[in-house]
Amino acid sequence: MAPLQADPGIWPTVARVSVTLNALLLLALGALWARNYWQFRSKHTLGLFVFSLLLLAENVLALYYYMADPTLATWFATAVPAIAWRAMMLLHVLETVALVFLTWVSWD
């Protein structure tokens, strides 16, 4: 068996927390837009709702790859070095910041 890589440190945890947060924010936004679509029946609210669904799918898939997929989860946990985790983590965290702002403007 190949030797394990150096410990990637905190980045996998930050990435998973960030992806989970993305999924929760998208669930809230999706529920809001679904409710508004139900009421307005406009293509605008439908577009927002579908957008939130697809971005939610992206995040749920990422979480699945990181934590549950039989092949990928093992690979991510043991073979991915810190530099790669840091790069991916940054993408997820940027998405979290974007979603926090979108939720902030949509929640009032």
Partner: protein, 91 residues
């Protein structure tokens, strides 16, 4: 203005209530208390929605702080067709 109307009225949590409020304002300018009564909403809720509508240039305030009357802006009047399209589905 079009995009602002769509997002503020249909993309946000308070959108449906703001559509009702905007219609009520267009029907007849009134003060916050009267809108609260007419729409059966909390006074603070009405104040919040009025602030959002003012922030987005859809409503303006006329008169002093106490008992100020709220009216639609020229911009919104100009795009009233869009508001009508949006509100067709709200009660």
């Amino acid at each position: 203005m079009e995009a602002v109307l769509w997002y503020v009225l249909t993309g946000t949590r308070g959108g449906p209530n703001r559509v009702r409020l905007l219609q009520a304002i267009n029907e007849r300018p009134r003060n916050a208390n009267q809108f609260a009564e007419a729409l059966d909403l909390d006074y603070t809720t009405i104040r919040h929605h009025l602030e959002v509508l003012i922030d987005n240039g859809m409503v303006r305030k006329s008169g002093g702080d106490y008992g100020a009357v709220y009216l639609t802006t020229e911009q919104v009047d100009h795009h009233w067709e869009t508001v009508e399209t949006i509100s067709e589905q709200v009660e």
